[in-house]
Symmetry: C2
Subunit: 333 residues, 2 copies
């Protein structure tokens, strides 16, 4: 199984990306294809050991973080992002990991990969490590700022399948992020989504409010891409602040794992999780933070390998066959 890694994308490319990919390769025994400038990458790899499972795929172009995503994807067919997604589509790689322009990753995936049946909009799904009782999934974390209620129900289907396959939870608890606990609470969007979720046959446990996000009430937390993005970044920002504070207090010298508090702080370091994946398309696409360093990339490559091993996209497709009929029923009734 080959994991493709975008060596040209991210704030610390290519050095930290290459470093992280090499670490993942040697630590987990994975084959890694680095996409980027051949000459630059060869030069970097010369200095490294454990490169026998690493190959370089030359990408003549690179998409920068400020480019218009759709224009960039269309005008740069030889960019590392477009080539990486193409590798996944054509079966040359089991997954593609990039810390580059997120919009370009989305656009490239939308344009090239097949959509799963019954899913109108792919969503970014993040494994949030924060809860001390184990991780949960948050989606959509930013692919769709404006959503229809049925998109949220579709995200729930995707998240439920992913939680079962990736986290091994047999009947994942689906929660709807909302501004109140009662069924009647919410915006127009969430009130309608609640009714759809109630009738999908999933394990829908109702509304989850902000204060319960970290309380392990739901395995899959469904929301629109605007709210999901803001909430995720709020948690990240809090984690950063906490770590700054602890560094000031010189608590970082404490041994790891010295209790729930240390576990929480460690979990708030989002590089532990290392990536989010795009669900709803037939391909494993892993999107990393632009600020990812070697450790985050290493974890993202491991995440990609696990997602690919679980054949998530394929399994979700099977999972969705009966559901598609359900969704249609929803709209007809």
């Amino acid at each position: 199984m080959i994991i493709a890694v975008d060596a040209s994308g991210g704030d610390y490319a290519p050095q930290e990306i290459v470093k992280g990919a090499l670490e993942a390769s040697s630590e987990y025994g994975l084959e890694v294809a680095l996409l980027g400038n051949q000459q630059v990458l060869d030069e970097l790899l010369k200095k490294e050991e454990n490169t026998d499972k690493v190959l370089v795929v030359h990408a003549e172009q690179a998409i920068t973080c400020n480019e218009n995503p759709v224009q960039a994807v269309r005008s740069k067919p030889d960019s590392s992002i477009v080539k990486g997604v193409r590798l996944v589509k054509e079966g040359g790689a089991a997954a593609f990991v990039s810390a580059g322009n997120t919009g370009a990753m989305l656009a490239s995936s939308f344009l090239m990969l097949d959509r799963l049946p019954g899913i109108e909009r792919p969503a970014i799904c993040v494994v949030v490590p924060v809860s001390t009782a184990g991780p949960f999934l948050l989606l959509d974390a930013g692919a769709n700022a404006d959503c229809q209620p049925r998109f949220l129900a579709q995200f729930a289907l995707l998240g439920s399948a992913f939680a079962r396959l990736y986290l091994g939870i047999e009947s994942p608890r689906i929660g709807l992020l909302n501004n109140g606990e009662e069924e009647a609470k919410g915006s127009i969007l969430t009130k309608e989504a609640y009714q759809l979720l109630k009738n999908t046959g999933m394990n829908f446990i109702g509304n989850i409010e902000g204060q319960d996000i970290l309380r392990n009430r739901a395995d899959v937390l469904v929301t629109d891409g605007f709210t999901g993005n803001v909430v995720l970044k709020t948690l990240e920002g809090f984690g950063d602040l906490l770590q700054d504070m602890l560094a000031l207090k010189q608590e970082t010298t404490q041994p790891e794992g010295s209790g729930n508090f240390s576990k929480l702080v460690k979990n708030m370091d989002f590089s532990e999780s290392g990536g989010s994946c795009l669900l709803g398309l037939n391909g494993n696409i892993i999107i990393c933070h632009g600020r990812s360093k070697a450790r985050a990339i290493k974890n993202a490559v491991r995440f990609a390998a696990r997602a690919a091993a679980a054949n998530v996209a394929g399994a979700i497709m099977n999972e969705l066959k009966p559901v598609t009929a359900n969704t249609v029923k929803e709209h007809l009734l």
Copy 2:
């Protein structure tokens, strides 16, 4: 100046409410009117000292936390909530503080108080104490789950005036909570709101992402009531979790103020702030958490007194006169 306090609303009413109101009265020399059952309150007050600045206003009815707000307000004219808002409207009290049914507080205020010119929707404004560099305002924190872009611009006007009057910031920095930093990022709502905010003549500094909420980049953070509510509760939930963890680690025995970290943790206790206020109506209405105990109520009463002393509603009205013309201009151009 009399501050009216709802002694019948909240999870710990009436005991904790009375206790907090008395503490505020004696500590800050404030006159307090307790609204609730006369007999019950007289009985409670008998056991207390420092009651000379406290009076009881009998309220025959009480609105519970699960009642439909509008129905409850209409059918219970003698409830503590309706009577409290009426006291403010008629000038009998300078402000009204309640930890009761938030929806009923909103409905009662909407129905009875005059709207400020140019403001179509009142908003809940919260003084968020979290940042170590001083508090900031978040609005709307829950009054309007579904917003039009111009409502967000109106919230910015309200927040800007309040920040100037209450926090003493001469030219408050207005930020728009968004899912990206660039002008072109966002939902349909935030993209349109951005354009309106750019042209209001306020000190608009652009988009603020989740990770920067606590970084003191804006003095006023504007958002729709759905996102605002979710984000605020997320922060609160994080604060709770942090305090649980610290309690487990028995760090709470540390002396207060032993550095930035302790300051952060203390600030994450939202009872320090004690209340949020409804802006956009001609009256000082302070909404507390249902779970408020004496300390939160005491702080909310102080907050109410400060807001009333600054004559916020009146001053905002003056502030808004030129702005109303501006808003009209926006819509005509």
